[in-house]
């Protein structure tokens, strides 16, 4: 499989392609981070996972469609930044959240907004697996309604769209009373 076909498969929501990519570079990445920067094995694995997540987000958001360099070079470049950022202590504020390392795709944002999104993430857990899945596929994995309908086995696009709408309504009801109107940012 070529590097660009791997990117294309991941972009289409093929988790198997992401899994293969994750496994194929893990050992070398972890050894490199340990050897070059003195990171522990646990830290290296954690940074590697966050690196893969950052790469995944860049792919599904259309920011990474093709690569001139190798996937390994790309991963190691992100990984290096992530580890240096971690070392500088920039990630300390988000240490409790396993995944909330600052991603390349994110801008610096006010802390209270991060807190709100963490609060929302907790509320999402109350929605149940079906709603979690459809919302994540739409907003995080960036799949279209048609792709979601196929993936989750809905009868048609309208059913999937309706289900997504209901889940969002459910989430709004859960979250709205706890977010005061003066918390909004312009």
């Amino acid at each position: 499989m070529t590097k660009n076909s791997t990117l294309s498969l991941i972009q289409k929501g093929e988790k198997k392609a992401l899994e293969q990519l994750y496994i194929s570079h893990k050992s070398e990445f972890v050894q490199w981070l340990q050897g070059s920067y003195g990171a522990s094995e646990t830290e290296s694995i954690d940074i590697y996972q966050d690196t893969i997540i950052a790469m995944y987000e860049n792919i599904v958001r259309g920011k990474l469609k093709t690569l001139d360099s190798s996937i390994k070079t790309y991963l190691f470049a992100i990984g290096k930044n992530k580890y240096l950022s971690y070392q500088r202590g920039e990630s300390k504020k988000t240490e409790l959240s396993v995944i909330a390392l600052s991603l390349e795709t994110e801008d610096n944002e006010p802390t209270h907004e991060e807190e709100l999104s963490t609060h929302v993430a907790k509320k999402i857990e109350e929605l149940g697996t079906a709603c979690q899945k459809i919302l994540q596929l739409y907003y995080f994995d960036q799949l279209s309604i048609r792709e979601i309908a196929e993936k989750l086995g809905y009868k048609n696009e309208d059913t999937a769209k309706n289900q997504k709408y209901k889940c969002m309504q459910k989430l709004r009801k859960l979250v709205k009373p706890e977010i005061p109107k003066n918390s909004s940012t312009s």
Partner: protein, 236 residues
């Protein structure tokens, strides 16, 4: 299209440029609309965080599904691969002659659940909560202590998940299967890991049809246990 849908599309980036402009103009004079837009942005960020968590769990599941051979150092890999080949060859002969026994299936595929959870990541917290202490005992392989500690903390899906794994490691398969079955029924996450270990417990208990159902579930979906589930189904 009502305003709620328009705002949702605007935040998702699927609203047309013209309609987006109109909405932003409206938000300047209507505080309710402005608030709804910000609320929608917050929801989207929260969902994205939730998606990252789910993906992180998926990657952790891939790690925990890896066999010790894959995780071993490079120095030992060739020897281990060779040894595995001999074991697999011997096993094939055994299976051809005697068929797959439930005991051997369990033994071949069961490994205690390995977590790369927060307790061991990025340095050790000095003041561990009761749950973290229990988790630490589990990670150190002191399963009876882990069981005792998990039983003393408040009930949650995560507590039950580890409780079931402690029972499994202590060979109390009936109790493990009961808890894992409950977690699966309420669609707790990580669903594929729960289903995988439930299937293994059921194999050990001789509940082969139930185990097959769970393995088929795993085989039909993209998850780290897909290939192993297929392998067991072929052997059952």
């Amino acid at each position: 299209m009502n305003y709620e849908e328009k705002i949702e599309d605007f935040v998702a980036g699927t609203l047309s440029e013209k309609e987006s402009g109109e909405l932003m103009e409206l938000a300047k004079v209507d505080r309710e609309i402005a608030y709804k837009i910000e609320l929608e942005k917050t929801l989207k960020k929260g969902i994205e965080n939730s998606g990252r968590s789910a993906l992180k769990k998926y990657l952790m599941e891939i790690d925990s599904a890896q066999t010790p051979i894959i995780r071993s150092s490079k120095t030992w890999r060739p020897a281990l691969v060779a040894a595995s080949a001999i074991v697999i060859a011997s096993l094939s002969v055994y299976l051809t002659m005697y068929g797959a026994s439930q005991a051997s299936l369990f033994k071949d595929f069961y490994e205690p659940y390995t977590s790369y959870a927060p307790i061991t990541k990025r340095g050790m917290a000095k003041d561990l909560s009761s749950f973290e202490l229990a988790q630490k005992a589990y990670e150190q392989g002191v399963y009876d202590k882990a069981l005792h500690l998990f039983n003393s903390v408040a009930k949650s899906d995560e507590r039950d998940f580890y409780l079931a794994h402690s029972y499994l490691a202590l060979k109390e398969y009936q109790k493990a299967a009961l808890i894992l079955g409950e977690l699966k029924a309420k669609e707790a996450v990580p669903q594929s890991t729960i289903t995988w270990y439930l299937a293994l417990a059921q194999i050990k208990l001789g509940e082969i049809e139930k185990a097959k159902e769970n393995l088929k579930y795993l085989r039909q979906r993209s998850n780290p246990y897909q290939e192993k589930a297929d392998e067991i189904l072929n052997r059952l």
